[in-house]
């Protein structure tokens, strides 16, 4: 209903030029009213973006250059927050932990997603069921409850610990072990490979069957077909997934906090789960250093932006867009 109303003027007034000289004509007035109506309908969204996203972002940009404890007026201190950051051992540590999480977790997750997608792409019985089953974890993945489940699975004397003892490895709880807590977090993200898997599935279905048939006639094996046909053909999808997952993983928060919070203060044993966003939160809301936290947030944004730019640069080398389609 709304859409027809809004598009109709254009359709009716296809021969626009004659009317240009009389902008105050009744039709133009009607159009302006409709434009206004359109903007009015957009208001809730605009208000949301302005008040909840853009406004806070600008304020936090300002706060990044101030000393602000949430209660007193922010005091301008120039670049000191950024200088403090580079001198802060815990900040470097949080960068290390986050990078480790991203650089180990993302490739594993994408590999798992692609692997399972390859298994599920061929039509077979119960396909729908398997797809849903593999997709399910990513629906609930970011929730607190699944973090709690994960923690109780990997805790002292819990399922994993007992199973490991059964095979003769008494490591105790993984969550409480500074060397094993991060791998536990990584397994949690890898387990949620459902979302990229669905995208891979869509990509795989686009690959023309003739290519495989021709390759088979030429005697290409499974691996060769994967390397020379599948990978290049789905490279745009792979690129998309890689980008999305990287950006997403840098912002890991909930699962790390729930896993690391078994002792009250999150961060895990010996700060082994001190992911960037948690350290930011701790500085801002617990230590009341909101200026420092804002500076950290912008640093993270810069980092992710830089990485994205680099990835876009590299795509010419390995991402192949089919000519003639509007994939670009």
């Amino acid at each position: 209903m709304t859409r027809t109303q809004m598009t109709r003027p254009d359709v009716v007034e296809r021969p626009r030029t004659p009317h240009r000289r009389t902008p105050e004509g009744p039709r133009a007035a009607g159009r302006r009213r409709e434009t206004l109506a359109g903007y009015l309908f957009l208001t809730p969204w605009c208000v949301g973006v302005l008040l909840l996203t853009l406004g806070p972002m600008l304020v936090s940009l300002y706060l990044a250059f101030t000393d602000y404890n949430l209660f007193d007026t922010p005091r301008w201190i120039g670049l000191r927050n950024f200088r403090d950051m580079f001198a802060d051992d815990r900040w470097w540590h949080s960068v290390r932990v986050t990078l480790e999480y991203v650089l180990v977790g993302t490739p594993l997750k994408l590999a798992a997603a692609l692997g399972v997608a390859l298994l599920l792409v061929r039509p077979r019985r119960g396909q729908g069921f398997y797809r849903s089953a593999f997709y399910a974890p990513s629906l609930i993945g970011a929730s607190v409850s699944i973090g709690i489940v994960w923690r109780s699975v990997f805790q002292d004397d819990a399922v994993v610990d007992r199973a490991m003892r059964f095979v003769g490895w008494d490591a105790g709880g993984w969550v409480g072990d500074p060397d094993w807590s991060l791998p536990t977090l990584v397994t949690l993200t890898v387990w949620q490979f459902g979302a990229p898997m669905v995208i891979f599935l869509a990509g795989l279905k686009q690959v023309p069957r003739e290519l495989y048939e021709a390759a088979e006639v030429d005697g290409a094996g499974v691996w060769r077909r994967f390397r020379s046909i599948t990978l290049p053909m789905i490279s745009p999808v792979l690129f998309f997934n890689l980008l999305l997952e990287l950006i997403h993983s840098f912002q890991v928060f909930t699962s790390a906090v729930v896993l690391g919070g078994s002792g009250g203060g999150a961060g895990g044993p010996a700060d082994s789960l001190l992911v960037y966003t948690w350290y930011l939160y701790e500085q801002g809301f617990r230590n009341l250093r909101m200026g420092y936290a804002s500076a950290m947030a912008w640093m993270l944004m810069l980092g992710i932006g830089l990485l994205t730019a680099v990835l876009f640069r590299t795509q010419r080398g390995w991402v192949h867009y089919e000519e003639g389609t509007d994939a670009r």
Partner: protein, 425 residues
């Protein structure tokens, strides 16, 4: 055509206008209305576990029955989350009207003018500060302002396993020394079995505070700085780390892995220093019998102990200071409230409540312990702003030492640097 459009246009406009109006109405609805029919609603939040929440809800029911014109909206969270949430709410000018607080935060939030000075309400007769047990009536006063009213008193103690100590022939008693404690711990650890003599409490700020006080110092000075040197801390952490490596104290990895239980309630250790009301929780977590003992001394007499307390504070921005005062007054004086809460937040603050409640089980142990240390209690110094951050850093950084992730020297440097930032000195 143009006629139809000119009709439709305004209708579209009107619909959009209606949508905006509806949104505005919705937003207004979220803001909460006026008190209707003379009923006032106050918001009350606290930190603690589910068991505390159940007891507090019962006491609120008692209050609402007694004060039908006041409704109490509640909210609670675990300790650390509570403060994050409180900070956020307070920064937005939306702190709860009345909330749980402790001595450690009076300065911090008092200096930010977030806490209601209750003296005016005392003068107006809405809040009685009489009948408090010794050491508690002045506990909430900072620089002449009354910023909190105690709902319970806690004293630091050793929660220990009496059977294990008996086996090595040691009975903890008032005036015992660190040497005696260390010897007992060593013997228990060396004996057969998996039990360690004590948890590694090297990172517990309050314990180090007591040790420093026994030696004429304190963790924080009156001028809001650290009251000890890097050399002092190197010695304290170094000694704990050495005992830990020697196998006398619970290895850090094990105590991390047993969380959320503590080492003593997880049957890993025979002794642990903590606040005396923690024995309530610990006793519920283990079948092993636990008891309370006084803190060891350096010179055979001075323990450095003081009463800390959980409090109720009002928000400086509350619209209902009178109702807040009435609420606090009821919570600290009403005997039924005392009977309901027991020692969940520490030993009951007023004589009326203390006498109304007949402690049994672990509560009886706490009562006996508190009575036994009354003679050695010293006045408490209110913590400076940022003390909570320093406390968390102290615990975290020592845990890294114990886990072998950093050296004692580096850890001490790190702590002094973080404490300096936190205390703003």
């Amino acid at each position: 055509m143009s006629v139809r459009r000119s009709v439709r246009g305004p209708r579209g406009l009107r619909a959009a206008g209606a949508a905006v109006a509806a949104l505005a109405l919705l937003a207004a609805g979220c803001g909460g209305g006026d008190p209707d029919g003379g009923t006032v609603t106050i918001r009350y939040s606290w930190w603690g576990a589910q068991d505390r929440a159940e007891l507090i809800r019962k006491t609120i029911a008692l209050f609402e029955k007694d004060h039908p014109h006041i409704k109490v909206k509640t909210d609670f969270a675990e300790y650390a989350d509570f403060w994050s949430k409180f900070n956020t709410q307070a920064a937005g000018g939306n702190a709860p009207d009345v909330f749980q607080n402790s001595v450690a935060f009076l300065r911090k939030y008092g200096e930010k003018n977030l806490l209601l000075d209750l003296n005016a309400q005392v003068e107006a007769g809405n809040l009685g500060m009489d009948d408090f047990r010794a050491g508690l009536d002045k506990a909430g006063e900072v620089d002449g302002r009354l910023l909190g009213v105690p709902v319970g008193g806690n004293t630091f103690a050793l929660v220990y396993n009496p059977e294990a100590f008996e086996r090595v022939g040691v009975t903890p008693a008032a005036g015992w020394t660190w040497d005696e404690f260390d010897a007992a711990v060593h013997k228990i650890s060396a004996a057969e079995g998996d039990l360690y003599g004590a948890s590694d409490n090297g990172g517990v700020m309050y314990l180090y505070d007591l040790y420093l006080r026994q030696n004429g110092k304190a963790f924080f000075t009156a001028d809001k700085k650290l009251g000890f040197t890097e050399a002092d801390l190197r010695q304290w952490w170094g000694a704990h780390y050495a005992d830990n490596k020697a196998g006398d104290l619970v290895p850090a990895k094990k105590s991390e892995q047993i969380k959320p239980k503590s080492s003593v309630s997880g049957d890993l250790s025979a002794a642990e220093f903590t606040w005396d009301n923690f024995i309530v929780r610990y006793a519920a977590e283990t079948d092993t019998e636990l008891a309370l003992a006084p803190v060891p001394t350096t010179d055979g007499t001075r323990t450095g102990q003081y009463i800390s307390s959980l409090m109720l504070s009002g928000s400086a921005r509350t619209q209902h200071p009178e109702e807040v005062a009435e609420f606090i007054d009821f919570m600290v004086h009403d005997p039924e409230v005392g009977k309901t809460m027991g020692y969940n937040r520490g030993v009951l603050p007023t004589n009326a409540q203390f006498d109304a409640y007949e402690p049994t089980g672990v509560d009886a142990q706490i009562a006996a312990y508190e009575k036994s240390v009354t003679g050695v209690i010293e006045p408490i110094t209110p913590h400076p702003a940022g003390a909570d951050v320093a406390e968390a850093a102290f615990l975290r950084i020592y845990a890294e030492v114990a886990l072998g992730k950093t050296s004692v020297d580096d850890a001490v440097t790190q702590f002094f640097s973080e404490a300096k930032t936190a205390l703003g000195s």
